[in-house]
C-alpha cells in the first residue's frame, strides 16, 4: 500500500507510491553527456574566452597567477544591481523593480571537472567562494535572501556544461524560506526543539536513511522525500547561516557534498540534478532560529499536473530504499552497478 508522510518542518504531505518502485537502473541513462575535453573553444567559461563574459567580481589565483575559481556577474541576469526597488501598487496589484544580484561561480578552469572529479582543495575552493560571495552580497541592505544553487545537466536547467554554480540575491523572502521559518517556529513552540536538530538526532539513531556522515554533517534521504533519491545535507550544529561555517566545517561540508554527488553519479549513471542551500534571511540572520542545510534534487521523474496543481509530490522510490542503494555506491562518481 502507498504511504503518506508528513514533512517534519513544512508539515506538507508527500505520497510515497513505491508500488511503482524502481531500481536505479530503471531510471536509465541521462542527457548529461560525460564531458571529456578539459577545454572547449566555444565555452564562455573556459580559459582564454574571457572576452565572452563580464569581468569577474572575485577570483582565486594559484601561485602562477592562473585562476582557480571565479565569480562573474551573469551576462543575462534575472535581476539587476542598479536602481531603486520602488515598490508600488498597480490597481489591485503590487510590483517592484527587478533589483537583485545574479552571479555565476565558475568552479574550475577545467571544462570536464565535475564535482566527483575535484580534489579536496578544489572542492573546498567552491565552498569558500560560496561563503565569500554570500558575505559580500549581504552587505547590500536591499537584499533579503541570497540563494546559492547549482543546476547540473540540461534537464536540470544548465545551459552550459562547464562546471558552475549560481547565486541570486532577491529583495524579498521566498516562499520556501517562509515555509522553513514557519515550520521551525511552530515546531519550537510545541516540541521546544529545532526540527532540523531533531531530524539529525532521529536519523542517526534510526540509521535507515543516512547516506554519509562525518564529524560536522549528515547526508540523509528525508523521511518525506518529495523526489526519488532526494538528499539533504544537514549540519549537526544548530546554526542559522551557511556562510558562518569555520574552516573545519568547510572541509567537512566540501567532502560530504562531493561524496554524495559522487554516489548519486555512480548509482544513477550521472543524473541531472539541482542543489540549493537553504539559509536564514540575509538581512536578519538571527531572527528566526533557522538551521541552514543543503537540498539535492536529482531530476529523474517529471513533475506533472497533480504536483503543479496541488503542491503535493508523488515519489516512486522510498527514501530508505534510495539510501540503501546510495550507501552501496562509490563516492568516486564512476558508474558501478549496485549489488
Amino acid at each position: 500500500m502507498p504511504e503518506i508522510r508528513k514533512h517534519p518542518v513544512t508539515r506538507e504531505w508527500v505520497i510515497i507510491a513505491a508500488e511503482r518502485a524502481k531500481r536505479p537502473s530503471d531510471f536509465g541513462t541521462h542527457d548529461v553527456s560525460p564531458v571529456k575535453a578539459v577545454k572547449d573553444i566555444n565555452c564562455p567559461f573556459c580559459p582564454d574566452n574571457e572576452s565572452m563574459i563580464p569581468p569577474p567580481v572575485e577570483v582565486l589565483n594559484n601561485q602562477q597567477s592562473e585562476w582557480q575559481i571565479k565569480a562573474i556577474p551573469n551576462k543575462f541576469p534575472a535581476l539587476v544591481l542598479d536602481g531603486d526597488i520602488n515598490r508600488k501598487d498597480v490597481g489591485i496589484y503590487d510590483t517592484m523593480n527587478g533589483i537583485g544580484a545574479h552571479e555565476i561561480i565558475i568552479e574550475t578552469p577545467d571544462h570536464s571537472k565535475s564535482i566527483p572529479k575535484m580534489n579536496d582543495s578544489e572542492m573546498i575552493n567552491v565552498i569558500e567562494m560560496y561563503c565569500k560571495r554570500y558575505n559580500e552580497l549581504k552587505k547590500d541592505k536591499r537584499f533579503k535572501n541570497i540563494q546559492i544553487f547549482k543546476n547540473y545537466g540540461k534537464i536540470a536547467g544548465a545551459s552550459l556544461a562547464h562546471p558552475h554554480s549560481q547565486i541570486i540575491a532577491t529583495p524579498f523572502n521566498p516562499p520556501e524560506e517562509w515555509a522553513d521559518i514557519r515550520g521551525i517556529k511552530d515546531y519550537l513552540s510545541y516540541r521546544k526543539k529545532c526540527p532540523f536538530c531533531d531530524v539529525v538526532e532521529h536519523e542517526r539513531k534510526a540509521n535507515v536513511r543516512i547516506v554519509l556522515e562525518n564529524e560536522s554533517f549528515i547526508a540523509t534521504t528525508p523521511y518525506a522525500s518529495r523526489f526519488p533519491f532526494e538528499i539533504w545535507i544537514i549540519p549537526k550544529k544548530h546554526s542559522p547561516v551557511f556562510a558562518r561555517i569555520n574552516d573545519k566545517e568547510i572541509n567537512d561540508f566540501a567532502l560530504i557534498l562531493r561524496g554524495v554527488i559522487g554516489k548519486l553519479s555512480s548509482c544513477l549513471s550521472d543524473p541531472p540534478f539541482n542543489y540549493a542551500i537553504h539559509t536564514a534571511p540575509s538581512n536578519d540572520e538571527d531572527a528566526y532560529n533557522f538551521h541552514w542545510h543543503l537540498e539535492i534534487i536529482p531530476r529523474l521523474t517529471i513533475t506533472a499536473g497533480f504536483e503543479l496543481g496541488t503542491g503535493v509530490y508523488i515519489n516512486i522510490v522510498a527514501p530508505e530504499k534510495a539510501a540503501s542503494f546510495l550507501k552501496e555506491s562509490s563516492e568516486s562518481g564512476a558508474t558501478v552497478v549496485p549489488a
Copy 2:
C-alpha cells in the same frame, strides 16, 4: 529592467525577466507529435482494448450504446481505495496509509481527438464527467480534496497519447489549496472582497491580459504569471465548488476551455501543458469562501535549482505579451504564425 510582481492571492513574488523575451516561435516545436490515427491497437484507452484496463466506474453511451466518455480506476494508482487511514507517529514523524482515489477519464474513443478537435457536445461531456466523478468521490468522507487535472504531452507527464484527464482524491488538504484559502481569508479581512472577484473586475477593466471571455468566465494570463503563457479561467460568479456549475455554465466553461487550449496550440505549435481545477476542500466546501478556477501551465521552460530551492519563479514572457499573442491566435488549434 526586470519586474517583480506579487500574486494577489498567495502573495508570492514572481520575477518577470522579459529582457530574455521570446516570441512564440522561439519556444520551437514540441514532442507532442500530432496523433493522426483515430485508433491505436496498442493503446489501452482505445475501443476493443478494454481487457487491458479495469472496468469503468462511469460511462456515457450514445444511442448505439457505444461509449462516448468513461471514467476508470487508474491501473497503477498513486493512492488506493481500500483500507483505513491509520494515521500514526513514527518517532518524530507522522505517517498515514496511502488511502485515496485515482481515476482516469478517457475523454473520447477517438485516439486522435485532442481538445481543440472536439465538437461542443464532446467538450461538454468532459466537463460533465468531471462534475459527476467529483460528486461521487466527495461522498467518501475520508477525502478532503479532489484534484481534477490533465497532463498533455510527454514533457507534461502524460505517458499515454490517448486524450485523458485524471482525478486524485486525497485524505489531506494540499499546500496549494491552503495557499489559496489563506490568501482569500487575508484579502477578505483587509479589502472586504474575494481576491478572485477583484481580479475578474480589474482584468476586465484593464483589458491587457484577457485572452477570451464569455458570459460566465474570463480567461486571463495572471498578473504574476509564474510560467510563460500561463492562463487562468475564472468564473465571474463567486462560487466555491467547481461541480456546482449549472448547465449554462458547463456550456460556457467547455467552450472557453476548448478555445483557450486551441489558442495555445495554434500560438505555440501544440505545446505540452498541464491544467488543474482549484476548488474548495471537498469535505467542507463552504467553509473558506473559496473561488474555484482552472490554471493552465504550458511546459515551455525548465524549472531549475532557483525555483526548486526558493519556490520563486522566473518568467521570461510578460503576461501582457503572452495575452496579446494568444488573442491573435486561432481557437481551432491549427498552427498559424502569429502576425
